[in-house]
Symmetry: C2
Subunit: 123 residues, 2 copies
């Protein structure tokens, strides 16, 4: 699978899981994983999952506008940069966001998220 396909498959999986079964994101992170969510830093799969499932909205839908990816170095990592919008249930306007992920290969042939940085883009 080429890098663009890896990035696209990851992005589809990540946001579909976020929007339908947020706790299922736990399997994408490991103990070394880091999340910066609107400037708040969290580390480790359990703490990151708690942060994401504890966000003050239940139903949401991400719509993706752009996906960029690049190899992050010699060990097979992939940087994925996403822009899109986030529609919260009951809100009139969608929120624009940008997010980046650093994916690291696992011995099993998949990837885990080492780095995750999320920011809303205020108009």
């Amino acid at each position: 699978m080429d890098l663009d396909s890896v990035a696209r498959a990851f992005v589809e999986h990540y946001y579909r899981t976020f929007d339908t079964n947020r706790g299922g994101l736990a399997g994408l992170y490991q103990e070394s994983s880091m999340l910066s969510f609107e400037g708040a830093k969290t580390q480790g799969a359990a703490a990151i999952t708690a942060k994401l499932t504890g966000l003050p909205f239940q139903q949401c839908q991400h719509n993706i506008s752009t996906i960029d990816c690049q190899p992050s170095g010699p060990v097979g990592g992939v940087l994925v940069f996403v822009s899109g919008s986030l529609q919260l249930a009951g809100e009139q306007y969608a929120l624009k966001f940008s997010q980046m992920f650093h994916l690291i290969p696992t011995p099993q042939g998949g990837f885990y998220v080492l780095n995750d940085i999320f920011r809303l883009n205020y108009a």
Copy 2:
């Protein structure tokens, strides 16, 4: 210097150079460096500098809203995620943008940009 200080110093240096002496950015890239600019991919310091100096605007000013950073792994790399706005000379409205950099330490004690991904955030 801690990671936040590295990121802040880099961001200040990068955008000040971009806005006052764009060709001076060449020194921040190496042959392995990659740029994705609005989806267009370029590789290598010379090609990246040509891309940036050839953008169809001369005077501009970046204003930074947020800087996030995380270590990218065991070899001392730093991921820097920036949001802000870009004011072009003669344009009434500033353009919102997001950009990420992956900085890799050099033997001389500095950093170079291995990965650079830039996107405008259309409202």
